[in-house]
């Protein structure tokens, strides 16, 4: 068995693989990489299903085509500006706002009809959810 291991070592590449560095990087940066992947996946599926070429998307958001390729690999530390441009170009919500949770809290607060509860409500919601506003003032 030792002879076999030695014979194996004779044919193994002396240069080591760098996978460990990649795996460690992924592990260390897991949270933002997951987010980047999620965004990249939504963009990729959208452009594939709508027949949008990567070069077209690059033109829409004002970057080089190679950059789109990098973004779509899902390991890019995207800036807010890039995410915003992608959202505007494609009409997608790539980072979902916590609107649904806030809307439920607002409805419950209105139901209680307490001033204190009202004061805790995020008033910016009135700008985005007009149906709730109408209900309250009715």
């Amino acid at each position: 068995m030792e002879k076999q291991r030695n014979n194996l070592e004779n044919i193994v590449e002396k240069q080591t693989s760098n996978w460990k560095d990649k795996a460690r990087f992924r592990q260390k940066n897991k949270s933002w990489i997951k987010l980047s992947q999620s965004i990249a996946l939504d963009v990729l599926i959208y452009i594939k299903e709508n027949g949008i070429k990567q070069t077209e998307l690059a033109n829409l958001i004002g970057v080089e085509p190679q950059r789109i390729n990098t973004i779509l690999k899902g390991k890019e530390n995207l800036t807010l500006e890039t995410i915003s441009r992608l959202q505007e170009a494609l009409g997608l919500e790539l980072i979902p706002a916590n609107k649904s949770k806030q809307t439920v809290q607002l409805v419950l607060s209105i139901g209680k009809k307490t001033t204190n509860t009202f004061n805790k409500i995020d008033h910016s919601l009135f700008k985005t959810d007009k149906s709730i506003t109408k209900h309250y003032y009715a």
């Binding site: 194996l8 193994v12 990649k22 599926i45 690999k73 390991k75």
Partner: protein
């Protein structure tokens, strides 16, 4: 398909073949595809949509299939590396506990056994193929996403070709001299 070289991935326990066709060794190439290459995954599941949505995996979209693959691949990579590292000191956590015979009717563990490993999840479609040198020395020959019960798709047949190619290469280089060998596959 021709073998370029073999890389030591971990601890002289886990090795990986590099073919001339590809710019990375199989271990890196497979996990890069499964964990970071969304284009690869999208194209694969689109091309094999019929098999994916045959009912065996339930009602699953391409998007969810991609997410599932990434999640399982990360865990499988971690498991393989842990076993490769630990197996040198703990037989019960070595690579032999992860790799199973490639052909389900084979049960004898022997040298140059062709093996397979699966992803962690029940009904995992991830497969890593390797040749066993001993209880904690395996050479990865390739890997695939297996959506069908049999290995009759082109990409799976290619894995069988690769594993046989590596077996002959090892035999030719006297890594193992015996004529008999068996094939193994990794399953989680």
């Amino acid at each position: 398909m021709k073998i370029d070289t073999i890389f030591n991935i971990e601890n002289k326990s886990l090795y990986s073949v590099k073919y001339f066709n590809y710019d990375k060794n199989e271990f890196e190439r497979i996990f890069d595809n499964w964990i970071t290459d969304l284009n690869f995954l999208y194209d694969f599941f689109t091309k094999n949509k019929k098999d994916l949505q045959s009912g065996f995996y339930g009602d699953i979209t391409i998007k969810n299939a991609i997410k599932r693959t990434i999640e399982e691949a990360e865990k499988l990579e971690e498991t393989l590396l842990y076993a490769a590292e630990k197996g040198e000191i703990d037989f019960f956590e070595c690579l032999q506990t992860i790799f199973k015979p490639l052909h389900n009717d084979k049960y004898k563990v022997s040298e140059l056994l062709q093996t397979k490993a699966y992803g962690n999840r029940h009904k995992s479609w991830l497969r890593i193929y390797a040749i066993r040198i001993n209880a904690n020395t395996y050479i990865i020959t390739g890997g695939a996403i297996k959506l069908t019960p049999y290995m009759n798709c082109l990409h799976l047949k290619q894995e069988l070709t690769k594993i046989e190619l590596v077996r002959r290469y090892l035999s030719d280089n006297n890594v193992f001299e015996q004529e008999d060998f068996e094939f193994l596959e990794i399953r989680n």
